[in-house]
């Protein structure tokens, strides 16, 4: 296994290098081949790794070369594959491959075609490095690298000011999170003297660090996760990131990169298990975000924005699961979410594609008949997101809710149920507004142009729809929880710390399931009532009735504006003030003042230079007199 796992990230990297160098002049329209082939190969290798790692007690570690070696600071450039990694590998390469194929159709004819595929490959490489790293620093490397790719891909249409701004915003907000992550990594090193997962976890187990330090580490790491996984209050970048091409939203901002935070917390389960307070924070922020983001999702007009907030909300679920120690449930939801959210984004992309680039749901409608393949697959995704039996989302979400209930955190469970209700509501609001209705509310030319997407796009949709429908059976509760069992070796230590028995959810809690399906159905019904039954007047009425509330929700609780008015303004205006008043006035003023002083001093003593040579000579003789006087005094005194 060591013989080939390094190929998994290296293949996309090679594809990236070749594509970026030769793409512009040479490969051009054929730029998709190398990345897709590389990705397919990586997928194949991931399957192989998955098969081989099953049941293994110890992770497979491959140290490629020394990266840092400074005194006690020894960090290898090393890869590691265990069960968690292998699941992530499958998700990344599998969903990634589908999205690559989809992009071939979606990005067709774009002037930056080769660039797009190059960036995607680079992203795949970075994400694979992230999940395959065997130490925190390399994780950080992948972490930043995916952020970079995200930056590039969000700003792919760089001539649009919003896209360029969104890319920058994503990177900087992530940097805020990474600030914590970086400090966390340093604190880990300073505390344990190593950054290797195995070494760190062992040291944690041996109690090498006090609880306070562990808490600090966990919170700092979680800060990074908050940035990357768009948790409140660092969620602001993700909706803006929708400026990127839709496949990017699907791959990076739904299926893979944003889940890196979840992966990281799960990976650090041992640390978190030792820091119960941190777990409360994780769960609390997750729950809050799940609810908060779903609220905002209700009021969005842009189809991608709805999905973005839904992603934020679903990520909140995952953190909620992590917060109560349901590690494998979080990973399960991560996987299921990757399937159905990628599906939804790709479906939305297909819709946008057919609508000639329109993203406003208000200008869609009645698309079901015109693009049936997209509609059906989108429905599958919508049902999965709403958590309807037996779609994937149902099983995974239910496992999370079950875990919170079982842990006795009823408030979290309640929040989850409420969020599930809202999720179902906004999901089907989106579906109804987009696909239902009598006619398309758009201009003639666009309507005429509506067409089903090419095969390259629909085939991935169908595959993902199947995965979203059936994927949930991997994680059925009780003895049937294949995924949970598979992941057991990874989380065994953390579970032990938390005092869990190996079989976490033994019984199938039919009541809980019924409740969650019930609220989901309620949400769907409400959406149907508002947007289909009384579509003519009710939405407007509601909008008018809850005007202010609607406005607040529509404007995402004005958090962006708040940040702009406080942090950004403080930084920019404060810096400008300091520049003008301190740097230029005081520091530089002191320097130039020194020059001025000498100049003035020079002017003051200038008259001494009379220009008459005899005056100078008199000076010389005066000097001679002084010297002689000294000599005489010394001699005779």
């Amino acid at each position: 296994m060591e013989s080939y796992i390094w190929l998994i990230p290296v293949l996309p990297l090679a594809a990236f290098i070749l594509t970026i160098i030769f793409g512009r002049w040479w490969i051009k329209e054929q730029a998709h081949w190398l990345p897709i082939l590389a990705m397919a190969a990586s997928f194949g290798l991931s399957i192989a790794a998955f098969v081989q790692i099953r049941g293994a007690e110890e992770p497979v570690i491959l140290n490629l070369f020394k990266w840092f070696s400074v005194g006690s600071f020894q960090v290898p450039f090393g890869l590691q594959v265990d069960q968690l990694t292998s699941i992530m590998l499958l998700v990344v390469t599998g969903v990634g491959l589908l999205i690559f194929i989809y992009s071939k159709g979606y990005m067709h004819g774009d002037p930056g075609y080769y660039r797009f595929f190059a960036y995607l490959s680079l992203f795949a490489f970075s994400m694979l490095m992230l999940v395959m790293a065997n130490n925190y620093l390399l994780l950080y490397f992948g972490w930043e690298a995916v952020g970079l790719c995200s930056y590039y891909l969000i700003g792919f249409f760089y001539h649009k000011p919003e896209a360029a701004a969104a890319g920058k915003k994503a990177f900087i907000v992530n940097r805020v999170g990474d600030f914590g992550f970086g400090l966390g990594v340093m604190l880990i090193f300073v505390t344990f003297g190593t950054l290797d997962y195995t070494g760190v976890f062992e040291a944690v187990g041996q109690g090498q660090a006090s609880n306070g330090i562990l808490l600090a580490i966990a919170l700092l790491l979680f800060m990074g996760a908050m940035g990357k996984s768009a948790q409140f209050p660092l969620h602001v970048w993700l909706p803006d990131a929708m400026e990127g091409p839709t496949p990017v939203s699907a791959l990076i901002h739904a299926a893979t990169m944003v889940t890196a935070g979840v992966y990281m917390v799960a990976r650090s389960s041992v640390i978190f298990a030792h820091a119960p307070t941190a777990m409360w924070v994780v769960g609390g922020i997750g729950a809050f975000t799940a609810l908060f983001a779903s609220f905002i999702g209700i009021a969005q007009k842009d189809i991608k924005k709805v999905l973005a907030y839904s992603t934020v909300s679903q990520l909140g679920y995952m953190f909620m699961a992590l917060g109560v120690g349901a590690w494998s449930a979080a990973i399960f939801h991560l996987m299921a979410h990757a399937f159905f959210k990628a599906l939804l984004f790709l479906g939305a992309g297909s819709v946008i594609h057919s609508m000639s680039g329109e993203q406003d749901m208000g200008r869609m409608g009645a698309l079901a008949r015109r693009i049936p393949a997209t509609w059906i697959t989108f429905m599958a995704g919508g049902l999965a997101l709403s958590g309807i039996f037996p779609f994937a989302g149902f099983w995974s979400k239910d496992e999370i809710l079950g875990a919170t209930f079982k842990e006795g955190v009823y408030i979290m469970w309640g929040v989850g149920i409420l969020a599930a209700f809202i999720t179902a509501f906004y999901t089907f609001r989106m579906i109804f507004v987009t696909f239902w209705g009598k006619e398309t509310r758009s201009d003639e030319a666009t309507v005429k142009h509506i067409h089903e997407s090419p095969k390259a796009m629909t085939v991935p949709l169908i595959i993902l729809a199947i995965a979203s429908t059936l994927g949930g059976f991997l994680g059925m509760p009780g003895q049937l929880n294949v995924l949970g069992k598979f992941l057991e070796p990874v989380f065994a230590v953390a579970d032990e710390v938390l005092g869990r028995e190996a079989e976490r959810i033994v019984t199938m809690d039919v009541v809980l399931m019924a409740i969650s399906v019930g609220v989901a159905l309620l949400g769907i019904t409400m959406a149907w009532y508002v947007y289909v039954r009384r579509a003519a007047d009710l939405p407007e009425k509601l909008g008018a009735r809850f005007g202010i509330a609607y406005k607040i929700v529509y404007n995402k609780f004005y958090i962006d504006e708040f940040y702009a008015a406080t942090f950004v303004r403080a930084a920019v205006d404060g810096s400008r003030w300091v520049w003008k008043h301190f740097d230029e006035l005081i520091i530089d003023g002191a320097v130039n003042g020194m020059g001025w002083l000498w100049q003035r001093g020079g002017t003051a003593v200038r008259p001494i230079q009379t220009g008459r040579v005899q005056n100078y000579m008199l000076g010389i003789f005066a000097g001679l007199f002084v010297v002689m006087t000294v000599i005489v005094v010394v001699m005779f005194a």
Partner: protein, 201 residues
């Protein structure tokens, strides 16, 4: 003893000539007194048995250099200067200062040469006592040997210095080409200076 008396006589004449030089209104008189002073200095060199230097003093100083001075003085309208005030504003303070410095010189010299205050002057012996010089063929011989052995390089350098001075002097007094030389008119607005040397030639 005779030498000492002669020395005192010549020394007094030297200083007197010097004082005369610097007090004359008429530059020609000053110049002649200067030559007189140089001759006295040459006599003092002679008393010190530095015969060659004494001759050079007469030939070069009293001869060549002074001729040069005379030559230049003759170009200039000497009378005009005698109408003007001859002494500088700072003369009194300068005089007082000079006298003070002289007193200090004398004091220091007194202190030093009495060997009471530090160092003895008799410490260095060069190996050229008058007897030895006579044995080696006289002052000229010895002087030349020293000059062309130990001082050869400075000697050559001195010749270069003289050459440079000559070239420099010629360039400075040369007729000025338009806007080229350093002696160009200093104040652009003022009327062109009369080129005296030019007229004379």
């Amino acid at each position: 003893m005779v030498e000492k008396i002669l020395f005192i006589i010549f020394a007094v004449l030297t200083v007197a000539g010097a004082i005369g030089t610097i007090t004359r209104k008429n530059m020609i008189h000053g110049l002649l007194l200067l030559v007189f002073t140089f001759l006295n200095v040459a006599a003092i060199f002679f008393l010190t048995q530095a015969y060659f230097v004494a001759m050079i003093q007469i030939l070069v100083y009293a001869g060549a250099i002074m001729v040069l001075f005379v030559f230049v003085l003759m170009f200039l309208n000497l009378r005009s200067f005698q109408q003007e005030k001859q002494t500088h504003r700072q003369r009194w303070i300068a005089l007082v200062l000079s006298v003070l410095v002289l007193v200090e010189f004398v004091a220091v010299l007194y202190g030093v040469t009495k060997a009471k205050y530090g160092f003895s002057l008799a410490s260095v012996q060069g190996g050229y006592s008058p007897d030895q010089i006579a044995a080696a063929g006289g002052n000229n011989q010895v002087f030349a040997k020293a000059l062309f052995n130990d001082m050869l390089l400075p000697f050559e350098v001195a010749s270069v210095v003289l050459l440079v001075a000559m070239v420099g002097a010629i360039i400075m007094v040369k007729k000025e080409k338009h806007g080229q030389m350093a002696t160009r008119q200093w104040e652009p607005g003022a009327e062109p200076a009369l080129d005296v040397a030019e007229e004379e030639v």
